[in-house]
């Protein structure tokens, strides 16, 4: 029988003993993992409810529209450029060579950009898979499988940040008896929470900057460009902090996801923030429409930033460490109102200051 208890006296018997470390767990725990998985499948779990068979309705011919159009336009453009270059060659060889070189460069750099974007999108996808994997480990509370995943995340983040400080804290507090749930929690609170505050700082910086810019910019049309520019910069920075940096092309994918998430999560966020936001609007309205617009834009960017954090963080947020919009909002108001007070020490600004104090 396999599971008989064994007692070995180290004095009398010569036994090979290994210290328990991350590597040993893997081979050792292979079978127990499978047992756990299969058991979880049989047990009543959250997946037991009914499910939609095909999440997306079939699109048929409509699905072909964009690829077909794209191929057609690209083909036409290639044909046209070929004709163009050909005609240039007929006119002058040097001119033709130069045009070919320029076109070639465009194609190569464009291709490289595409590949890079594709890679960064893949990184984002793998991040999502990691989130799910961590979630599964937390739910099943297994033993000895989390460390490998944590190491992977570490190397990813380590490419862009120096993690030696928090990692040594993590290693110091980690015990060999900790199961995966505890290990992941520990990692989340020693290492990732540091990243969270860094990301929040970056978001606050960008949000206030754009709020101030919008408040000061004279042109309404410039606001839109400003928002697009600052928000894309912010997405880049935040995603970099979490070790899955997004390039220009990849950011489109991220932006799309962030936007979808914001639409989905927006309702609940709004409910939670409604109280304070109403207060905020009252304040903003008293200042001026322009500043109000600035605050609105700042809040939008802050919200985008927080959604980006949610997408990029390897371990999902819990109730304890969920980033709060109120934190950013506060510094946003402070920055804007002090700016206003400095620029025009008039009656309106002093009122704002007073209200600000009341709110605190």
């Amino acid at each position: 029988m396999k599971d008989k208890p064994v007692k070995i006296r180290t004095k009398t018997a010569n036994v090979q003993v290994e210290k328990v470390s991350a590597n040993v767990f893997e081979e050792h725990n292979g079978q127990s993992l499978e047992v756990g998985r299969s058991k979880a499948g049989g047990a009543l779990s959250s997946t037991a409810g009914p499910k939609m068979l095909n999440s997306k309705p079939k699109k048929g011919l409509r699905k072909l529209f964009w690829p077909a159009l794209f191929t057609f336009v690209a083909g036409a453009a290639a044909y046209e450029s070929y004709l163009f270059i050909d005609s240039l060659f007929a006119f002058n060889t040097v001119l033709g060579v130069a045009a070919t070189a320029v076109a070639g460069l465009a194609v190569i750099s464009g291709g490289a950009g595409l590949i890079k974007g594709w890679l960064s999108r893949r990184k984002l996808r793998s991040r999502k898979e990691k989130q799910q994997a961590f979630g599964l480990l937390i739910e099943e509370n297994t033993y000895g499988e989390g460390q490998q995943l944590i190491d992977e995340v570490n190397t990813e983040i380590g490419q862009y940040l120096d993690l030696s400080g928090p990692l040594s804290t993590y290693r110091g507090q980690k015990q060999q008896v900790h199961n995966d749930r505890e290990l992941i929690q520990l990692y989340s609170q020693t290492v990732l929470e540091g990243l969270d505050s860094m990301a929040l700082e970056a978001i606050t910086k960008h949000a206030t900057e754009s709020a101030v810019m919008v408040a000061l910019s004279p042109l309404a049309a410039a606001d839109m460009a400003l928002v697009a520019w600052r928000s894309s910069k912010m997405l880049q920075e935040v995603s970099r902090i979490y070790g899955c940096p997004q390039t220009t092309l990849g950011r489109i994918g991220l932006t799309k996801q962030v936007m979808t998430n914001m639409m989905l999560a927006g309702a609940s966020d709004m409910l939670a923030d409604a109280g304070t936001e109403l207060l905020g609007k009252g304040l903003a309205a008293t200042v001026s429409t322009k500043v109000a617009q600035g605050i609105g834009v700042g809040l939008l960017i802050a919200r985008m930033g927080i959604q980006t954090m949610k997408l990029c963080r390897p371990v999902e947020f819990t109730d304890d460490n969920r980033p709060k919009l109120s934190y950013i909002r506060k510094s946003l108001y402070n920055r804007l109102t002090t700016l206003l007070k400095k620029s025009e020490p008039s009656k309106g600004a002093t009122i704002t200051k007073g209200e600000q104090d009341d709110r605190d």
């Binding site: 208890p5 064994v6 007692k7 036994v15 328990v20 127990s32 297994t142 008896v177 520990l186 609170q189």
Partner: protein, 472 residues
């Protein structure tokens, strides 16, 4: 000058008032049968808290992780008639030159800790930056806990229960007490000396039963085993009636001085004058409870042992007063709002099996758990070790890699690598129990423990659960 000083006195008074308003007090009942590790737990709990400033081994105590817990000290408590918990003494026995587990408790004792922390709540922080939390911990012999279920029983019901338990457990029937008890005539009066003699035989009988079976279910009343200050008092001279005919008959017509009435009177006196005041005083004010269970002893013992322990613990949990405590209700009728059921000695189990150990414990207490959760109590189960004395290793045995624990065996004093068998987290039938063999051994405390912080398993999670929410 005098105006100024009276003003400052006023300010000081206001500050005191605010401090008292913000201050918090939490009373923790450490419950568990004898041998579950209550004394070791309290010692470790106090040890961790007293070293809080330089203790980086509490990552899951959120307030400590945030650096908000500043320091703590042992303080004197209001209930001056209760002896103090001998923290120094039991710590010395753990870290001494010949380390030994702290001695089992023979009487009640109490400890009070004062923890100073930085307030997190924005609003409260405006009033005051720091506050302190007072933690009361009570230690008492586990045997006395067995009296709790008695409170719900009459003498007749208790006798019936004893009879049933005796029939179930197939103990040797030929004890002195059982023989003698059939001879007496319950309807007639009996001399006090004879009652005392019979009751002494009964005490011997349940002690022997305990030694033979290692189960607690018959160990009632608890003071029979550990009388404390009641040694020799007539209130402890009674025993159950096991005659089925007498149990089925009507007792109301019996004379006041008949044996049965005397026994009933003593039982009721014991219940009302000994047990009730004891629990009223020490447990009614409790707001957090931790129940320590030694699952390893149960696993070693097999199915009958498991069933007995299950019965005892479920009965015990029924007797506590649970209920959500909002502040208004608390003022008049305080009750426990958080219960932690912990499997102790988790360091004796290979870490990969901790989850199974938790599962086993949950399974054992399923019935009581359901009732308690219905009351809206926050309930959690954990596998913990107050003082960690082993190390997890992987040893190769007959071509198989097994995760074991390495430590010094208590009985032999030799270093041992132990694979205790695989714990089954799901409920098992009597037959299935037979297929699993367990050999959990007791480990001694190694000599390499320093004067500082005791090594532990999940004590930080225990603290977070029991007192974490108070550091607001």
């Amino acid at each position: 000058m005098s105006e100024k000083s009276s003003l400052s006195r006023l300010v000081h008074k206001a500050e005191q008032l605010i401090e008292r308003g913000i201050d918090k007090r939490v009373r923790i009942a450490v419950t568990g049968l004898s041998g579950a590790g209550k004394t070791a737990f309290i010692t470790s709990f106090m040890n961790q808290l007293l070293h809080i400033a330089d203790n980086d081994q509490l990552p899951f105590l959120r307030a400590a992780k945030e650096g908000r817990v500043l320091a703590s000290k042992v303080s004197s408590y209001d209930e001056l008639h209760i002896p103090e918990f001998k923290y120094r003494q039991s710590l010395d026995s753990i870290i001494g030159s010949t380390p030994s587990w702290p001695a089992s408790t023979t009487g009640i004792s109490q400890a009070q800790l004062n923890v100073r922390y930085i307030i997190k709540n924005e609003w409260l922080q405006k009033l005051q930056k720091q506050s302190h939390l007072t933690i009361d911990i009570i230690d008492y012999p586990g045997e006395w806990l067995l009296d709790l279920p008695l409170l719900r029983l009459s003498y007749k019901e208790w006798s019936v229960q004893c009879l049933q338990l005796l029939e179930q457990s197939h103990v040797a029937e030929d004890s002195d007490w059982r023989e003698q008890s059939t001879k007496v005539i319950y309807q007639q009066p009996l001399a006090d000396e004879s009652i005392a003699e019979l009751s002494l035989q009964y005490k011997d009988f349940i002690k022997e039963h305990f030694i033979q079976q290692q189960t607690y279910n018959l160990l009632q009343p608890g003071r029979f085993i550990l009388p404390g200050e009641l040694q020799g008092a007539p209130v402890l001279d009674f025993f159950p009636v096991l005659d089925i005919d007498i149990l089925n008959s009507d007792w109301s017509a019996l004379a006041e001085d008949s044996l049965i009435k005397t026994l009933e009177k003593r039982f009721n006196y014991y219940k009302q004058q000994i047990v009730q005041p004891f629990f009223k005083e020490y447990f009614e004010k409790v707001d957090r409870q931790i129940l320590l269970v030694d699952c390893l002893e149960v696993l070693n013992g097999g199915y009958q042992n498991f069933r007995d322990m299950q019965f005892t613990l479920v009965e015990l949990l029924k007797s506590f007063h649970y209920g959500q405590s909002n502040w208004l209700k608390r003022m008049f009728n305080p009750s426990i709002d958080k219960l932690l059921i912990a499997a102790t000695k988790a360091d004796h189990v290979p870490p990969e099996q901790h989850r199974a150990l938790e599962g086993f414990l949950q399974n054992m207490l399923q019935e009581a758990k359901n009732d308690i959760q219905y009351e809206g109590i926050e309930l959690e189960t954990m596998a913990i070790s107050a003082i960690k004395v082993t190390e997890a290793v992987i040893a190769e045995h007959q071509g198989q890699k097994l995760m074991c624990v390495k430590g010094i065996e208590l009985d032999s004093g030799e270093e041992v690598i132990n694979y205790p068998g695989r714990i089954q987290p799901q409920a098992l039938s009597r037959d299935a129990w037979r297929e699993h063999q367990y050999d959990f051994i007791n480990f001694a405390i190694p000599t390499n423990l320093t004067n500082g912080i005791l090594p532990h398993i999940r004590m930080d999670k225990v603290m977070q659960f029991l007192i974490g929410d108070k550091f607001r």
